[in-house]
Amino acid sequence: MGIVVTAILVLLGLALIFGAILGYAAIRFKVEGDPIVDQINAVLPQTQCGQCGHPGCKPYAEGIANGGEPINKCPPGGEATIQALADLLDVEPLPLDAEHGEEKPRMVAYIREAECIGCTKCIQACPVDAILGAAKQMHTVIVDECTGCDLCVEPCPVDCIDMLPLPTTPQNWKWDYPLPGKTLIATDAQRGAA
């Protein structure tokens, strides 16, 4: 009897100690925010274009993490982002959902300044404050800050905003990969022909 009581007491004591440790750890090592959402958000291209139907990249990341949104709704990220998301979340990569747009080369907004009437509508639409200007003053796009999200094009009342592909300069030019060579060893090829 005594042994049983001792055993119960010992186990109870252990349970209390471990419970206390776990309780303390839960408070001490509490993770702020949602790490999965942040990880997904880090993979997304941060154009904040809203083509996925969410008001920005973070809401889409939250949608993927919590709302079971498919991972193929991000046209600016394209295949690379889908692949990265598939790797991160350990799901099958899907082809890009054409409903939300196509993958395009990176664009930047350009304001035809002679036509700008200074209405500030594009400034209000820009999610990253990349348009400079004031009421009744000419506006212009800060190219380095522009994410090419398209959001400024629609509100412009005089249609003076163009989306142009980012020009290639010696600074951002990339070396080409070599053209693919033959897949057969020369001597084998000769043997095959003979």
């Binding site: 958000n41 973070k58 300069t169 990339k174 070599p178 897949t183």
Partner: protein
């Protein structure tokens, strides 16, 4: 002369021995290229930020004058290589593998080659290292070996690290190139002076000059120039790529520069021969970097040589100087055959990093054979001087597995091309690595940019939220103020004889105006003002026409009239004030007012006491505040409940108004929908339903208005029939026609007044009249057709 102790030489892993082909260009010594007519000076001739132009088109500049200044720390200024006029600043041909253009300053030479004022330093030893470094920076010197890193930055890359070895790179291991060789042969004294300057700046324990043993003349010349100085000339066996910075350090010291690190991390600085020459020119002669020694070689040239060329000289000029045979030229390479790149245009200029121009014939630089599959022979790994795994890198580059490439230290690859050179399958391995590197760099840049955009987006969201909150707070404050004003006004209407002093703002405003003018007084005031105006006008006219007796006679009459009107108004005002002043009559309203004032004063003193007490009130203050609070409570309790009782009625009224407005809007919408689709019975029903709701809402509103004590606003309820698109359009047309007619009429009249030809105006008038009639008719017809529908 013999070295005191022979220095130990280490070996580097890998490496190859390609045919040297150096003798072709060394036979003619060092020549000076002729002055070109036009120079193109790209703003980016170095690693780092593009230089910022400080001249404008049309400026005349002197040789050595600053054209563009460094833009940031890792950047390089640019100077005029000769005197002349700036003819353009904009994209111009640029020696780059991409063949793209780059921003450049174009200078038209005036042929006089006139120097600007130079400030040579006769004794650099009298200066500290900081001013000397600054002079090197301002002279626009970037590494002349090939990479073009700004020299001042490189010398001072790790200010906290003591530099114990200064390594001078006279290796020049690439085939064909002999620029450094030539410099050492003919400019050894200047080079040694450059070494002395660097020694003075850095105070290293040892200075080693590494020269490959295939340059015996250069070694001899350097040994002679060095003399008894503590500078060691170290010849070592020729092997490609000993001239790489990290490779040379390994050969001379046996130490390896850590992956991703700089030589300065292990206490060393490595400088190229050409750079030393430029340092000498900058300090001893005061000349900025405006020229360099460039090798012109290749089978397509009849006169291969080394020239001292001005930076910015078009390549075509130099090649013509060296006897270019255009028909034999197959490929033009800038740099050596191993690491150089093919130039797509001869219009591009020589820049600070251009050490060689190789004009190769088809036999000399044949197109690469078609790549075969890798047979995993491992020759590439044996040849790699950086001890990487070229084969693995190749597979991962093919699969674009960038993480794996980074794991295999792709960025330690110096792109020397040994692996491609030895590959029996002729796989262009280096090209894969270059492409992968630029791809990875682009991705990293993109990642960086995404992070940046995210930050900006989040900051913007925060700002918008802040603004919205501020707006909301402002709105609330305004609403509160309006409510208080309203309450004050109500208190004022309750006691109409005296303006309510409860709200100080109102009190002030009412005090400024002649308070409470009744209708009669207003009329008198207006009459007085009108009379005064008439008088003034008459006076003015008299001033303009002093001879008009009639006008003169009018003035006294008008003056009299004005005086009378003013008097009448004053009298009525006085009467009113007499009526108003017997103030404190014992009425219920006055009692309310007194109580209110009392409560307000108590509240104010409470607030003051609280503010004085701050966050940590003393005991005394606390007592005082407590007492005041009690008093306020008592005073508020004594106030009549009148205002509170009034409110619900108002709220009812408000709700009724809102309901009515909403019902009206719904009806309008329904009617509009119906106007466009006349035949839809569902819409018709909807309209009827909306109309019923509106009638009810209006009824409720009337009742609510009757219940409240507020005066019913006068209004006219118009029941505008909705109009359909077609009618609206016709009406708009009619209005426009009317406007056009009016305009035409006016111009006709003007023409008449000016006695001008009224023919055109008459025609216009007739035309617009016609248009007006047509529009009116169209509208009438349309309306009639709608009636009959």
């Amino acid at each position: 002369m013999t070295q005191a102790t022979p220095i130990k030489i280490w070996d580097i892993p890998g490496g190859i021995h390609p045919p040297e082909n150096k003798h072709q260009s060394t036979a003619n010594g060092l020549e000076v290229a002729p002055l070109p007519a036009r120079l193109i000076l790209p703003l980016q001739q170095h690693i780092g930020a593009r230089a910022e132009p400080v001249v404008s088109v049309g400026d005349r500049v002197l040789k050595g004058q600053l054209l563009a200044e460094a833009n940031g720390l890792v950047s390089c200024p640019l100077h005029a290589p000769t005197s002349g006029t700036v003819s353009a600043i904009g994209p111009a041909p640029y020696p780059h593998a991409s063949g793209l253009e780059e921003w450049a300053i174009t200078l038209e030479s005036d042929g006089q080659d006139e120097w600007t004022d130079l400030e040579p330093i006769s004794d650099f030893r009298a200066l500290e290292s900081a001013p000397l470094l600054e002079m090197i920076r301002l002279a626009g010197i970037s590494g002349l070996g090939g990479a073009g890193f700004p020299t001042a930055v490189k010398i001072n890359a790790r200010p906290e690290q003591k530099i114990h070895s200064l390594i001078i790179n006279g290796t020049e291991c690439e085939p064909y190139i002999t620029a450094d060789d030539t410099a050492m042969r003919y400019k050894a004294t200047e080079i040694v002076a450059g070494i002395e300057i660097l020694r003075h700046i850095l105070h290293p324990e040892e200075v080693l000059v590494g020269i490959e043993d295939n340059k015996s003349e250069a070694i001899a010349a350097m040994r002679e120039a060095v003399g008894e100085r503590d500078i060691r000339i170290v010849p070592f066996p020729t092997k490609y790529p000993s001239g790489g910075e990290k490779q040379l350090i390994q050969i001379l010291t046996g130490k390896e520069v850590p992956s991703g690190g700089l030589p300065a991390d292990i206490g060393m600085v490595c400088q190229n021969i050409g750079t030393l020459l430029a340092i000498h020119d900058a300090i001893i002669l005061g000349q900025p970097l405006i020229k360099r020694i460039t090798t012109l070689t290749g089978e397509a040239l009849t006169h291969p040589t080394n020239v001292e060329a001005l930076i910015g000289t078009p390549i075509r000029d130099l090649l013509e100087f060296a006897g270019l045979q255009p028909d034999r030229l197959y490929r033009l390479v800038m740099g050596g055959p191993m690491m150089g790149f093919t130039l797509q245009s001869m219009d591009a200029p020589v820049i600070k990093t251009s050490n060689c121009l190789l004009a190769g014939t088809l036999e000399e630089l044949p197109p690469p054979p078609v790549a075969q599959p890798c047979i995993r022979c491992g020759l590439c790994s044996e040849a790699c001087p950086a001890m990487l795994l070229p084969q693995q890198l190749h597979w991962f580059a093919l699969g674009k597995e960038y993480d794996q490439l980074k794991r295999l230290n792709l960025f330690d690859c110096i792109e020397c091309g040994c692996c491609s050179y030895v590959c029996p399958s002729s796989i262009p391995l280096v090209q894969y690595y270059r492409a992968s590197k630029s791809e990875i760099r682009a991705l990293e840049l993109q990642q960086h940019k995404a992070e940046h955009s995210k930050q900006r987006f989040e900051q913007r969201q925060q700002r918008l939220q802040r603004e919205a909150e501020q707006k909301e707070a402002d709105r609330k404050a305004r609403a509160d103020k309006a409510a208080r004003m309203k309450a004050a006004k109500e208190a004022g209407t309750a006691s109409p004889d005296t303006p309510a002093p409860a709200e100080p703002d109102v009190a002030r405003v009412t005090a400024q105006k002649p308070a409470g003018l009744n209708a009669e007084q207003k009329q008198l005031k207006i009459a007085a003002a009108t009379a005064q105006m008439a008088l003034k006008k008459a006076q003015k006219q008299v001033a303009a026409n002093p001879d008009n007796a009639e006008l003169k006679a009018q003035v006294p009459v008008l003056e009299q009239a004005w005086r009378e009107a003013q008097q009448r108004f004053d009298a009525s005002l006085g009467e009113a004030s007499v009526k108003a002043t017997p103030a404190p009559s014992a009425g219920a309203d006055d009692e309310t007012k007194r109580l209110k004032i009392e409560a307000a004063m108590l509240r104010a003193s409470l607030k003051k006491a609280e503010r004085a007490a701050g966050d940590t009130p003393t005991e005394e203050q606390e007592k005082e505040i407590y007492a005041l609070r009690e008093q306020v409570a008592v005073a508020e309790a004594r106030l009549p409940k009148e205002t509170a009782a009034k409110k619900p009625v108002d709220e009812n009224l408000k709700k009724a108004k809102l309901d009515a407005a909403m019902a009206k809007a719904a009806l309008k919408k329904a009617e509009r929908a119906q106007a466009d689709n006349m035949d839809d019975p569902a819409l018709q029903e909807e309209v009827e339903r909306c109309r019923d709701i509106l009638t009810e809402a209006l009824h409720t509103l009337e009742q609510a208005e009757a219940n409240t004590s507020q005066p019913v606003p006068e209004r006219e309820r118009v029941d505008k029939k909705p109009i359909d698109e077609a009618t609206r359009q016709r009406k708009t047309e009619l209005a426009m026609a009317k406007a056009a007619y009016k305009k035409a009429e006016q111009s006709f009249k003007q023409a008449q007044e000016a006695n001008a030809d009224t023919g055109a105006a008459q025609a216009e008038l007739d035309r617009t009249k016609e248009a007006l009639n047509t529009a009116a008719k169209a509208l009438a017809e349309h309306m009639a057709s709608k009636e009959t529908d």
